[in-house]
């Protein structure tokens, strides 16, 4: 752990040393990428000890539906049963590269002290951005979280634009930017790591009508972080 991360942890300890209490806050979500779109975001405050996913653990069926096809209804239902404070689809659709959206949450009267934000990256097979169960600060202020792309581990990253978005159906459901190619032969078989892990990035190629991938290596790659979440506590 580097010095600045230790400092951050120390700061977090200070900030969370208070008893859990209600928070009225705004969540701004920035798509930092140059060529990746996000499916509708799911933003949720939820109780301590709960999470939608964990690195090194297999994805739930509902996480798989989000990561492979952008369907957040199952995860939202899971969160409802936990009594979570939920905001679905704050952008009212896809979030384009280098754009942002925001939503207000208020956890008054709840025990929802953790924040999770998830959405699928397009065009990918099963990549998703995940801010995973971070403690919601209670001190008024602005807090920035930088969010990496995970691989749900549930689908081969074949990078073929087939329209397949349902869980278990191979292929990429859509390329909103319209810059993908066709005729790829398929990049990869099943992930070596079938649990949730940091995504290894798309490969792509420079052949719009063939090659292994339908993705363009000059357009559809990314570097982490892919999303910035700015929490403003009032």
């Amino acid at each position: 752990m580097n010095t600045s991360l230790r400092a951050v942890v120390a700061a977090l300890a200070l900030l969370t040393g208070h008893a859990a209490s209600a928070a009225d806050f705004n969540v701004r979500i920035v798509n930092l990428t140059n060529g990746i779109w996000f499916t509708p975001f799911l933003v949720a405050a939820h109780p301590a000890g709960t999470s939608l996913f964990a690195v090194g653990q297999p994805a739930s069926t509902n996480l798989q539906a989000m990561a492979e096809g952008g369907d957040i209804s199952g995860l939202a239902a899971d969160l409802q049963t936990l009594g979570a404070t939920i905001a679905e689809n704050p952008a009212g659709g896809l979030l384009a590269p280098a754009t942002s959206t925001d939503v207000d949450l208020n956890t008054d009267g709840s025990s929802n002290v953790l924040l999770t934000v998830v959405a699928m990256l397009l065009p990918t097979n099963d990549a998703f951005a995940g801010l995973n169960s971070v403690t919601i600060p209670t001190e008024p202020g602005t807090y920035v979280f930088e969010v990496p792309a995970y691989d749900a581990g549930t689908e081969a990253n074949d990078e073929l634009l087939t329209g397949g978005g349902a869980p278990g159906v191979p292929g990429i459901p859509a390329d909103p930017g319209g810059l993908a190619g066709t005729g790829g032969t398929g990049v990869a078989a099943a992930d070596a790591n079938s649990t949730v892990h940091i995504h290894r990035n798309s490969l792509g190629d420079t052949d719009p009508i063939g090659g292994p991938s339908d993705l363009d290596s000059t357009v559809h790659r990314w570097l982490n972080p892919v999303v910035r979440v700015v929490v403003t506590v009032r």
Partner: protein, 242 residues
């Protein structure tokens, strides 16, 4: 407890107990020498990359409201000249003309991989409340990648306090990422720097997606796998020295 898969940066600036430094009053007219009326910061920029020299850095001290860049917003011409050609002159001139800007400073030379440079910048103590520092530098073996710091809050740092953070690579959105030597000013290219044409995917700042390189299948690229990079690309340490 922080999730190791995320980072939290600005929280550093909000640690309770960091007191707002008040400007010291004037002397009593006798006795000890007058208090200094300026505050200075040493900004250390370290290059973390394998083969991406950094252009001479631009350091700008300013009040809230000035930004070198914002994700989703078109780059200024000054930022374009920095990000395409590694020349910070126009960016610093733009800054000097902005009403929020208190001071500017330039690095003396490019910073090679594994290298660091300390740039000093000085402001009046009266300008400290809310003072922010921004830093810009180009990754010169690219078309228009840059890094730096965006409005780090330093006005409440006491003498001796330091603030360190890592920074990522952004794409100015002003030049297509051809990776061709003709359009890359750094040593891996030796080509053109700034060109006023804007021919990137979209005319706005976003994150850089990295160098593909000829070794990774981009046949038209003059860059090798050595010029690839991942985040973070730069470490910045700010110390208030007086």
């Amino acid at each position: 407890m922080i999730n190791l898969s995320t980072t939290m940066s600005r929280a550093l600036l909000l640690i309770p107990g960091v007191l707002l430094l008040q400007a010291c009053g004037g002397s009593n007219g006798s006795g000890p020498p007058a208090q200094p009326t300026t505050a200075s910061f040493a900004v250390t920029v370290s290059n973390l990359t394998n083969a991406q020299p950094l252009s001479p850095v631009a350091v700008i001290a300013h009040a809230d409201g000035y930004r070198i860049f914002a994700v989703g917003t078109a780059a200024s011409v000054g930022l374009e000249e920095l990000a395409e050609g590694g020349d910070n002159t126009a960016l610093l001139a733009e800054a000097a003309a902005a009403p929020q800007v208190a001071a500017t400073a330039s690095g003396a030379a490019p910073i090679g991989p594994a290298g660091s440079e300390v740039v000093s910048i000085e402001v009046l103590e009266t300008e400290l409340p809310g003072l922010q520092l921004s830093v810009g530098t180009m990754l010169v073996n690219t078309n228009d990648a840059f890094s730096g710091a965006n409005a780090a809050l330093v006005g409440d740092m006491a003498v001796g306090d330091e603030l360190s953070f890592y920074s990522i690579a952004y794409d100015a959105g002003t030049e297509a990422d051809t990776e061709r030597a003709l359009e890359i000013p750094g040593p891996a290219g030796g080509g053109e720097g700034f060109n006023p044409a804007r021919d990137d995917q979209a005319d706005r700042v976003a994150m850089h997606a990295g160098v593909v390189s000829q070794d990774d299948g981009l046949a038209t690229s003059d860059l090798s796998e050595q010029e690839r990079f991942d985040n973070p690309v730069v470490r910045i340490r700010i110390e208030r020295v007086n």
